[in-house]
């Protein structure tokens, strides 16, 4: 039984079809990444899974059953961080736990334990507006993973981070995945990141988005220190880049202006 | 409901509420005198004087929010016909106290006929409109004029010249104008075709009078004593009235005194040959006829009344001390 199985999802906004029959599944304890051109419908896909949007076609099941609202077992990290301006950074980070019924004190304590790991120690009492873009993103990620849900939906979790911080957080995520074996659906625009973190990478085409490629990544590939030099990983990256180039919309040709 | 009052007066006094029609003024003197000199207390009454509310007193009394209240003849005739449960139990003034006034320096206005086409600083009452029209017509005009509804601003409007005439209480605004050195030129309604009227009075409701005839008798008698005292001792009464209302009348001693002297001597509080506070059936008939003729009266269902009701139902002397 899949942790998540999506069948024939379709979504239109007015005249524009954004998703056009997207089907895939995420096996329990596995990581699936979605890459695709900007504007293809990746975030829309997640917004359907979280119940924010209703699909125009298709359906999906979690652990083999359709979900009812308020019962979704996801922890979701939106692309724009959606930090609440009226909560201090620590309270933002603890929000998911609080919503899950964890008492406030305890939620804050659990969230605060991760602040140093995420490189944002010392910002607990600041307001979100006082953080840099990358710091906001890290708070949003922290808020998501600290919930310890069995399935994570992450929309470009490392998009605003420098290479070093990104590397550190990727490794941290790999480590925590090793321990908890959460299922994950990860949206990213970084091919290398997709390969490194996933068991499977899906490639979406440009709008209207269909899945135009699936690449399995063997768990045997080293994800830690050896990753950058692994030839199989490089091969997969190259394959994905080609798929992505095919996925891209037309006007690229006119771009050399 | 009020407690029956034991004759001894030692027990709890009976509570009675009395509603004013305006901020305390000399029309209310008898009630305050009765209060200050202990007439109510002697009668075993605990009278609470309710201040002016924008709710018309007839509605307060009819609705049971007050047991008694100030209410003149015209109001009773209009209100009872319209279905309000009110009845006149005491007449504070035996005749009209209102007058039509213009500024004294208006040489162009010598009679109500000269008010033709002028601006009336009015109060939004069809009764007053009919009155002004009657006066102008009586003096040979057509009765055309413009009414500006000004309510309390009418006197300022008159003195600043933005209206040409208004209606004034001869024992209050007119005296104030004199004190301020800008006296009015006045026209008495009765001199210009209007029937006289017992302008100020006290009302209660049939419901209350039926339930508490004894309390009513004591209350009306005490009030009657109060007004009699005011008629006999206007200066003392003035002091009592001011003392009872230091916040509002303190500083207006001259106005109050002059007003009370007028009310005492001009046959207003008391008149020769009649019991103080009694009704004058003739005035009720004549004024009532005027109201019917001018189509001002409406019945409970809002239809204009064309046939005069039996005015004797509208007032009673039954509670007076004769």
């Amino acid at each position: 039984m899949s942790a998540l199985s999506v069948r024939g999802l379709g979504k239109r906004f007015g005249e524009t079809t954004v998703l056009d029959g997207v089907s895939f599944s995420v096996e329990p304890g596995r990581v699936t990444s979605v890459i695709g051109p900007s504007g293809s419908g990746k975030s829309t896909l997640l917004r359907i899974l979280t119940g924010e949007l209703d699909p125009d076609a298709g359906s999906f099941e979690v652990d083999g059953a359709p979900v009812r609202n308020a019962q979704r077992p996801f922890a979701f990290m939106p692309q724009r961080d959606a930090l609440l301006p009226w909560r201090r950074v620590l309270d933002n980070a603890a929000l998911g736990l609080e919503m899950a019924g964890v008492p406030r004190r305890q939620a804050r304590r659990r969230a605060s334990e991760l602040f140093d790991t995420f490189g944002i120690g010392g910002t607990e009492r600041l307001w979100p507006r006082q953080l840099s873009g990358g710091m906001r993103q890290r708070v949003a990620l922290l808020r998501t993973v600290v919930q310890e849900r069995t399935m994570l939906l992450l929309d470009e979790p490392f998009g605003a981070l420098d290479a070093i911080t990104r590397e550190q957080l990727q490794r941290w995520l790999l480590g925590i995945w090793e321990r908890h074996r959460w299922s994950m659906l990860l949206i990213t625009h970084d091919i290398r990141e997709a390969v490194r973190l996933s068991d499977e990478v899906l490639v979406l085409s440009a709008k209207p988005a269909r899945i135009i490629g699936r690449v399995r990544v063997d768990r045997a590939i080293p994800r830690g220190d050896g990753f950058v030099l692994d030839p199989e990983a490089r091969r997969l990256e190259h394959e994905l880049l080609k798929l992505l180039a095919r996925a891209a919309p037309g006007p690229g040709a006119t771009m050399m202006g | 409901a009020p407690q029956p009052t034991p004759e001894s007066g030692r027990a709890e006094p009976t509570r009675v509420t009395f509603a004013l029609d305006w901020a305390p003024n000399t029309n209310h003197t008898g009630v305050y005198v009765a209060q200050e000199l202990g007439y109510f207390e002697e009668a075993g009454l605990d009278v609470e004087i309710l201040p002016y509310a924008s709710t018309p007193v007839p509605e307060l009394v009819s609705g049971g929010a007050a047991d008694f209240g100030i209410g003149g003849q015209g109001g009773v005739q209009l209100g009872r016909t319209a279905g309000l449960d009110i009845v006149s139990v005491y007449r504070v003034t035996q005749s009209e106290v209102g007058e039509l006034v213009v500024l004294a320096d208006r040489d162009d206005i010598d009679s109500p006929a000269d008010l033709e086409g002028k601006i009336f600083g009015g109060f939004g009452s069809p009764l007053y409109r009919a009155m002004v029209r009657t006066m102008i017509e009586h003096d040979g005009g057509r009765g055309d004029f413009t009414e500006v509804v000004l309510d309390t601003g009418a006197y300022e409007a008159l003195s600043s010249g933005t209206v040409d005439f208004t209606l004034s209480v001869s024992t209050w605004e007119s005296i104030q104008a004199e004190i301020e050195g800008r006296p009015y030129k006045s026209f008495q309604y009765q001199d210009h075709g209007m029937p006289d009227v017992q302008a100020v009075g006290i009302i209660s409701s049939d419901a209350y009078l039926t339930a508490e005839p004894e309390v009513a008798r004591k209350f009306v008698a005490a009030v009657q004593r109060g007004y009699q005292y005011a008629a006999d001792h206007p200066r003392e009464a003035a002091t009592l009235l001011v003392d009872a209302n230091p916040d509002t009348l303190g500083g207006a001693e001259e106005l109050v005194t002059k007003s009370l002297e007028t009310l005492a001597k001009d046959g207003l509080f008391v008149a020769d040959g009649v019991v103080t506070g009694s009704a004058d059936p003739e005035r009720w008939e004549e004024y009532g006829a005027f109201l019917v003729e001018n189509g001002i009266l409406v019945d409970e269902s809002g239809n204009t009344v064309t046939q005069a009701p039996d005015w004797a139902d509208y007032y009673t002397d039954e509670f007076l001390d004769r």
Binding site: - | P56, L84, I119, G124, T146, V149, D151, T162
Partner: protein, 255 residues
Amino acid sequence: MTRRLRAHWPPVAAAVLLLGAWHAVAVSGMLPATVLPTPVRVVEQVWLQREALLGHALPTLTATVLGFALSVASAVVIATALDFSALLRRAVLPLLVVSQTLPMIALAPLVVLWFGFYLLPKVLLVAFLTFFPMTISLLRGFAAADPDMQALLRSMGAGRWGVFRHVRAPSAAPYFFSGLRVSITYAVVGAIFAEYAGAVAGLGVYMQSAKNVFRTDLVLAAVLVSSIVTLLLYALVVALEHLLLPWLRVERGLP
């Protein structure tokens, strides 16, 4: 059920419920008919007195519309001026607050004395009684503007006026319309109030006359007319907002 019907039944149902309750109280005998006539009777009177009511509604409507136009204009001008100068804001805002604390019931007669009985004092009073909610809302809305957007505009060489026009003013739009809804609601009441203080015609004059002869049914007939007028004006404001701020629905994730 057609869509139109579906959109309109809740307010209609609520209104019917309320009228039913009113009717029940009116015929219960708790209050005499002179104090509380039945709704049927009031509607009847609106019809019977339609000419008089129309004649009195027109001056009230004129005063309302002119006064409100003046009010919106003043609110915009004042709030803009105060937004541009912190000094002015500190100096003038307390005075504006004080101005709203003046009990008009005591001062309206003076206004009438100064400006006569016709349109002008009514227009002024309506403007005076309604500009405040809009001014406060606008000031709050200006202040709610995103600092990032303002910084962007400044980086483009926009002066204070450019930043105001392109960021602060649009940010204030939703606030402004919330003030507008409050104000338009007060405008008709304000005009009627002004008529109580001094006027030759208008619904306020009509109410006062009716009240003086204990015709509560006519008072309520005039109240009914004034309510309908206000509701129409309110609906106009809502429609205007829809028209002028198309982006707001998108921002809020509405279809």
